[in-house]
Symmetry: C2
Subunit: 213 residues, 2 copies
């Protein structure tokens, strides 16, 4: 398999964690988002959306991080990234989607660039925007994680899965404008538990071959 990614991309970070948890070896192809390499013709042939990640598996070029991770889970059974029963699976997918649908897309690089260039938002306004959406999403996540007996050492039980895979890159992301994580003790606890697992630790941005200071 070949992963087209970028060290700072949260969505690529998710897929790296999933590949590591599954023990799947992969090659890297780096797409420098700040240099605009995602809009080069060669990459658009792989991913017409001009976004990372893309995972090539044989003849298939798979896009969208959550779809890729479900694919990995369906093709590599061990360890499972989703629980067994439909309502448990729905819970884990919902926790993952709070991050993947309701936080991350609104704070993505291309959105921040639009705020600056088109709406003339200054750095302080961009920072308020950025933290506003994380705080709102984390408040919902914390309420759902904190009140539910299904939460264990990780978001669902005592083994890491799809929800943790989305949560960790978002916590990393929250450091960009120094969001206070004090109000989210369950999120912080789960983040620490994840980072003690090599599959998460080795997937972090600073440990990628394309990392920059």
């Amino acid at each position: 398999m070949k992963l087209h990614g970028y060290f700072r991309s949260s969505a690529a970070f998710r897929v790296r964690i999933a590949l590591n948890l599954k023990g799947i070896a992969y090659d890297n192809a780096f797409v420098h988002l700040r240099k605009g390499e995602q809009r080069n013709g060669a990459y658009l042939g792989v991913n017409p959306q001009a976004l990372v990640p893309t995972l090539e598996d044989g003849a298939h070029a798979l896009t969208q991080s959550l779809a890729i991770i479900e694919y990995l889970d369906e093709t590599h059974a061990t360890p499972p990234l989703l629980p067994r029963t439909p309502h448990e699976r729905a819970r884990v997918r919902a926790l993952a989607q709070i991050v993947a649908c309701d936080i991350h897309p609104i704070d993505n690089l291309r959105v921040l660039q639009y705020l600056q260039k088109e709406l003339k938002a200054d750095e302080a306004a961009v920072g308020r925007w950025f933290n506003h959406w994380i705080a709102l999403g984390f408040a919902g996540l914390e309420a759902m994680l904190g009140k539910d007996a299904a939460t264990g050492r990780f978001c669902h039980g005592d083994t890491p899965g799809l929800a943790d895979i989305c949560l960790v890159p978002q916590v990393f992301n929250s450091k960009r404008y120094s969001l206070d994580l004090g109000p989210y003790p369950t999120i912080r606890r789960i983040y620490e538990a994840c980072m003690a697992v090599p599959a998460f630790d080795l997937a972090q941005p600073s440990k990628q071959p394309d990392a920059e200071p």
Copy 2:
């Protein structure tokens, strides 16, 4: 089952289509988003994120539209909303997520309200924002749908599924600021095919009991 929704919510619209396709009868509970009813204490107990939809099925309160639809697909086999093979499933989920992750969250009501209130964006700037993200997402979708032999009468083959369920509410949404759909012939063709199916037609905002002019 009881669906907490709002006639204009694209995410609730998706779940209504899925329930209709599966032939599942359900009760409605209406949450008036513009009146802020999603922040009432009673509703926060059901959905701490203060978003719609929520689907109550017995003791389970399920949130996040894509998670809900996958739950319905896992608990009600016919008709399937996802194809069989992992790479086909990944394709359909990716098409769905282009809408659910990369278009809709950025154009959601709460985001538009933030643009107006916090960033003092005027109506014209909000309209440009709104259409920018749909156009970008639709360009990617059109490229993926148009170039792939897997596309049929619907997004994947000749029966409607998860990707169509996400596409149709987004096309409805694109009328808000009159986006020109000319550049997206495949999207328009699939939208028309979907709207000829009663499960889609009956789920549209204007046909809901809480619809307003």
